[in-house]
Symmetry: C2
Subunit: 342 residues, 2 copies
């Protein structure tokens, strides 16, 4: 019988191999009966991780029916939708339909929620054969059940926003929350956001402003993004530079800033971010393409006394903060809405 | 002709690809002629990064001659000792034998120094075929030349300590300096050091104590290390657990702590460190084997509100702090001296 902390992490649902955390598991028990601290979700839609969907689609030669079969086989075999090649999952939305008496998540039956922990660790059972999905989009209409553990995270979907908008915002909600915290804790005035016209970038600019920073620079990759970012009014200064060219970034930014936030999902942005940051400043890496050793050795090699943070996707209140920034900032909406087809 | 800031970073020594910083370069120009702001070191010894040496040794099946050949091939091909698999380097000691008239480092010909920037960005030429090295130790007697840039860091070796000791201490001096800073800034009381019997681990324990932490836990991998750490008196509590088994680490640590410092050079220590750390606490990753995505996604997946720092090898004053901890702490000496064969 696992201890309560192990249960909270979902270790009791791991079938193979024994003793690992659910994300590292080959196979989970996705049975719909809820334990005392669990929550069951009636699934409505899966949102596959972009890298996972691309891999599946390419390996099936773009044949939608084959992609659908592949997803069904993965879920049946693993008890979760974790692409065995990419290791990634995605997220889902659905309706709470059972809450164990000891669940600390504060959810109620009937609430519509999005899970903010990865599908790669979420027990999942599919019951409709994905009959409504053509296998050609990351958005997967689905019926079935998913299980949340005591130490999972789910956000109640707001009534005032389309689901697609909520999902787009919640997908990156860790970045603005972490940016706000760093700015508030350090009293930073000047901030550079690298990749500022994207979802996490524009939300991070708005979060930095709300937290008190007043010299905001958005760095983007081309003139089209620069025009969109300038029009949004989120940045005091808009720069165009290749984020992976450290010397170009340093030259564009000029005087180094208090905080640099990296939101571009391309490898090689570490050194430019370090050079853009003043001695004593902070770099927050939100890109999954970040190389730990490139960051660590790069800062050392440049004798850069900067604090470097691994962007943590979880900060308490992150979902509400991001949704509020979307609601309150016309500039954020102007940049995010075109990305969700609104 | 590169600008002075670019020169200071060594960009003029990059042969391939053009326009990147030396650490990101595939190949550097290691020619011994010094530029106006450069310093040349007559190399005496290399100290390979632990993760790099382990990877080389394992990939060569522990065959020392093969490891030696591998290092020679890397240096010949790249103009620097940067392991292409781990991305890491190490450091070196030698004698200053040429100083450009515009070098700001304050070094003089004849001084014995250790370089505190990584070998992964230091132009290096080896002239003795590493004939005095058996390929079985991270400490590599070597002859050749290395180049320091204007924005490099080197520490003059102290007269009162054997070279091997200074090198061993300086190699890891970023860890105690960063640990001290985190403890001081956050007011942390409880600290777990993972890999506490090693060089960076024991120095980090001593630094945490000096910075005000008073509940120090050292986590080690076996009973022999536990006995040595206990005898040193550096930790208030000594635990034996596999750092790569998250649940074992969490169970051993029990009540999570304010700060966790990861000093083990093995992959897979991220999740255990996160679980060992209290909500609102800080993890400092000093292992070059750290996976950025494992840390970021692991913390999110466990709803862990922890600040995660990329251990920066450079903090102002780091060399002096580490050497002083060695001099003042019998416990540190007891753990480090056997590792340097004193």
């Amino acid at each position: 019988m696992p201890g309560s902390e192990e249960r909270a992490l979902g270790v009791h649902r791991v079938l193979e191999p024994e003793g690992v955390l659910p994300q590292a598991a080959v196979r989970l028990d996705a049975a719909p009966a809820v334990g005392p601290d669990e929550v069951r979700i009636a699934v409505q839609r899966l949102n596959l991780d972009a890298a996972s969907f691309r891999q599946l689609s390419e390996s099936c030669g773009g044949d939608g029916a084959a992609v659908r079969s592949a997803v069904l086989e993965i879920v049946a075999a693993r008890g979760k939708m974790q692409n065995p090649v990419t290791g990634s999952g995605g997220m889902l939305i659905g309706v709470v339909d059972a809450v164990g008496p000891e669940s600390p998540l504060g959810l109620e039956v009937g609430q519509r929620v999005a899970t903010l922990v990865s599908l790669s660790l979420t027990p999942l059972r599919i019951t409709d054969g994905l009959a409504r999905w053509d296998g050609r989009s990351e958005q997967v209409p689905a019926e079935g059940t998913a299980i949340l553990f005591a130490r999972s995270i789910a956000a109640v979907l707001p009534d005032d926003l389309p689901d697609a908008v909520s999902l787009a915002v919640l997908d990156v909600c860790g970045a603005p929350a972490a940016t706000a915290r760093v700015v508030a804790r350090t009293g930073a005035r000047s901030v550079v956001v690298v990749g500022a016209a994207g979802k996490s970038g524009c939300l991070s600019l708005a979060a930095a402003r709300a937290a008190g920073a007043d010299q905001l620079t958005g760095l983007v990759r081309n003139d089209a993004e620069a025009a969109a970012l300038s029009a949004s009014g989120l940045a005091d200064r808009v720069l165009v530079a290749d984020a992976t060219d450290p010397l170009a970034v340093a030259a564009a930014v000029g005087r180094p800033v208090d905080v640099t936030v990296v939101c571009v999902d391309v490898p090689g942005a570490e050194h430019g971010a370090v050079l853009a940051t003043a001695q004593g400043g902070t770099v927050v890496f939100f890109s999954m393409a970040t190389s730990f050793s490139a960051a660590a050795l790069g800062a050392e090699g440049m004798a850069a006394d900067v604090t470097m943070l691994v962007g943590n996707g979880y900060t308490p209140g992150h979902a509400a903060l991001a949704l509020d920034l979307y609601r309150s900032s016309p500039g954020v909406r102007a940049l995010i809405d075109p990305r969700v087809g609104e």
